[in-house]
């Protein structure tokens, strides 16, 4: 019985450590994602005059979603990755020589960080 309890407690501690490591990794990925976003994306998706991305999203979504990408709560990693690699309308496609797959995953984590379904590391 004690062995079982110890095993369960040890298992829970390991799972907790693993979850904590995943959370740290996720936080680091979000942090990296913000760096990449500020380098590549904020020039059209930031706030201020003549921001092509922010202006167009204001037209597309009206009051349904914030025009600023970084404030959206509905973005998913898959959607972000698709938009960056496929482009849309005036927004062109971004290549691996510009935004690597790893950096793309980081941007996707950053932009989906406010989506309740993606808040925690999976």
């Amino acid at each position: 019985m004690r062995t079982v309890v110890l095993a369960v407690v040890a298992g829970a501690a390991l799972a907790g450590a693993a979850a904590s490591a995943r959370a740290d990794q996720h936080a680091q990925q979000i942090s990296r994602g913000k760096v990449v976003f500020d380098h590549w994306c904020v020039v059209c998706h930031g706030s201020g005059p003549y921001m092509a991305g922010t202006q167009q999203l204001r037209v597309n979504y009206g009051s349904k979603e914030p025009a600023l990408l970084s404030r959206r709560t509905d973005l998913t990693p898959a959607f972000v990755k698709a938009m960056v690699r496929l482009g849309y309308g005036i927004m062109p496609r971004f290549r691996k020589t510009e935004v690597s797959d790893a950096d793309l995953a980081a941007v996707a984590a950053y932009l989906s960080r406010n989506n309740p379904a993606y808040k925690r590391a999976k």
């Binding site: 202006q55 005036i90 062109p92 290549r95 510009e98």
Partner: protein, 546 residues
């Protein structure tokens, strides 16, 4: 999979394997999603993928020696290469090659700033360095020089300059500020132009010519080699930059106005980009638009009357002057004195900035100037914000949605009132011929290349394949019509490069024949950028590549 012409799938795979051994398997890209990122995001073939120019793949080296090895492999397997720097030449073809099946040579990973000398004011960079990258480097290292960026800051210093691109800052003509190239030739050999041909010559990026024929221009808008390094002349960071508005009231004022402005450009007083526009011609007023649709563009007396009623000047411009504040004061006094002979000319102060303290204060839209940051050498993306979500960009769908891109057609004329009015008439007639609104020919002009004006035309890409087919045919007709009237372009989209080269018909197309003779000698296997500006390798000449 779009194979290079005349290359089998097995041969292509073999070549891919050899290239992977050079750059690593991650950096030879042939799957459909990777190829998508190298297609022209603003293709005039939208809706017609069978007609679009589609690469066979992309290869991305990091070193000059890798570029050389890739070129040798390309020769062995007869795989055409299309070098791109940042591949953001949107409106002029983006990253896509002219010939489907060409392999894109993506130089973005070669992105080092190699040297910046803030006293002699020159720099040496690799192709992957964008205006954003260079600006960040200058600010991080607190270097007091200006670089002159293009409208969108994501372009490459080298890529933009090699396509004869332009900026709003003091250089305007970017190719004109190049000094010294390192080039990988179509046979894989490495060459340095000008003074760089002397090993260890420290004047490589200050003295442009060396001795003997100056060949650096061959690598701009050409099909003769891959530039792996370029020197650029810069200017010292000025203490100040200020803008001023100038306007003249009447149609016929354009003659003395452009004559005086040309003298000021040639004399060095006006040393930054400016644009002549017409507030009257841009007016949405129905009577103005009706007059502009007429075959003669409306008689000047009638338009002058309309300008008077609407209280609009006929012609206007905004200029920037940069330098020491007291020098700017003197230049502005001189400019006003030179223009004062035009009755009714008016002058107004615009923006005023001091450097380095104002880099973070300049805002696009200051004094209504969307190009304020570009004029102060600060890279940005505001030109895309000009129409996004707004009323200025023609839409092709509901709810103000954007078009699927834009393309440019860029006639260039000498800077005179007579030529501007003649060119407007030619464009009006050309547009009438193809069924576009004639008033679209009422273009202003950009003063980018000494005493000339570029009458930049912008057309949207539709979501409808048939509309785009008509656009492709229409622009071809307009380009040839302009050529028949002695008007050419400064730059072209691949879809119209053959039309633009066909305009060079002096003495039975002597220029193209000469270029083809050189092409056959230096690129016998025809692997270097086939079709770029209408220069095709011998094995592809006479065939139709649509």
């Amino acid at each position: 999979m779009t194979l290079p012409p005349g290359v089998s799938a097995a041969q292509f795979q073999q070549a891919v394997g050899r290239m992977q051994a050079v750059v690593g398997s991650d950096w030879v890209m042939t799957d459909a999603l990777d190829i998508w990122t190298y297609r022209d995001a603003y293709t005039p073939y939208y809706g017609d993928p069978a007609g679009e120019y589609i690469p066979s793949g992309a290869v991305a080296p990091t070193e000059v020696s890798q570029v050389q090895q890739i070129v040798r492999i390309a020769n062995e397997f007869k795989i055409p290469l299309w070098p791109i720097a940042t591949g953001r030449n949107l409106g002029y073809g983006g990253s896509a090659p002219r010939l489907s099946g060409t392999m894109v040579l993506d130089l973005k990973r070669m992105n080092r700033v190699l040297e910046v000398d803030e006293h002699r004011c020159h720099a040496l960079v690799e192709p992957g360095v964008s205006y954003f990258d260079f600006y960040r480097y200058l600010r991080e290292h607190q270097l007091k020089v200006w670089l002159d960026c293009a409208d969108p800051g994501w372009g490459s210093l080298i890529g933009n300059a090699l396509d004869h691109g332009v900026g709003h800052g003091p250089f305007r003509d970017h190719f004109g500020s190049i000094c010294g190239l390192e080039v990988v030739l179509p046979n894989g050999e490495l060459l340095r132009t000008g003074a760089g041909a002397i090993p260890g010559n420290k004047a490589w990026t200050t003295f442009p010519y060396g001795t003997g024929p100056h060949i650096a221009p061959m690598f701009g808008q050409g099909a003769f080699g891959i530039v792996t390094k370029a020197g650029f002349h810069l200017i010292p960071e000025p203490e100040a930059a200020r803008s001023y508005h100038i306007s003249v009231p009447r149609h016929d004022d354009v003659h003395p106005f452009l004559d005086r402005m040309a003298e000021l450009v040639a004399g060095g007083t006006l040393n930054q980009s400016w644009q002549i526009g017409s507030p009257l011609q841009s007016s949405p007023n129905a009577r103005v638009r009706a007059a502009l649709e007429r075959s003669d563009g409306g008689p000047s007396a009638e338009l002058d009357q309309l300008a008077h009623e609407l209280n609009l000047p006929y012609w206007s411009t905004r200029i920037y002057l940069h330098g020491a504040p007291n020098v700017i004061d003197a230049q502005w006094q001189y400019i006003q004195r030179r223009l004062s002979g035009i009755t009714g000319v008016s002058f107004k102060d615009g923006n005023s900035y001091r450097f380095p303290q104002d880099y973070d204060k300049v805002r696009d839209g200051d004094d209504g100037d969307i190009f304020a940051r570009a004029a102060c050498d600060i890279p940005n993306m505001s030109i895309y914000g000009m129409g996004a979500g707004g009323a200025n960009v023609p839409t092709t769908g509901p709810r103000g949605r954007q078009p699927h891109g834009i393309v440019f057609f860029s006639p260039v004329i000498t800077m005179s009132g007579a030529e501007l009015l003649r060119a407007q008439q030619v464009l009006r007639a050309a547009y009438r011929k193809v069924g576009m609104p004639a008033r679209a020919g009422a273009a202003g002009g950009w003063a980018w290349f000494r005493c000339t004006l570029v009458l930049l035309q912008v057309y949207p890409i539709s979501g409808d394949a048939q509309q785009n087919a008509k656009l492709r045919s229409d622009v071809s007709t307009v380009a040839r019509f302009c050529a028949d009237h002695g008007i050419g372009e400064y730059r072209a989209h691949p879809v119209w490069m053959d039309d633009v080269m066909a305009a060079n018909s002096f003495n039975h197309h002597a220029l193209l024949h000469y270029l083809e003779t050189l092409k056959d000698a230096v690129d016998p296997n025809g692997i270097m950028a086939p079709g770029h500006y209408g220069i095709w390798p011998k094995r592809m000449r006479g065939e139709s590549f649509t």
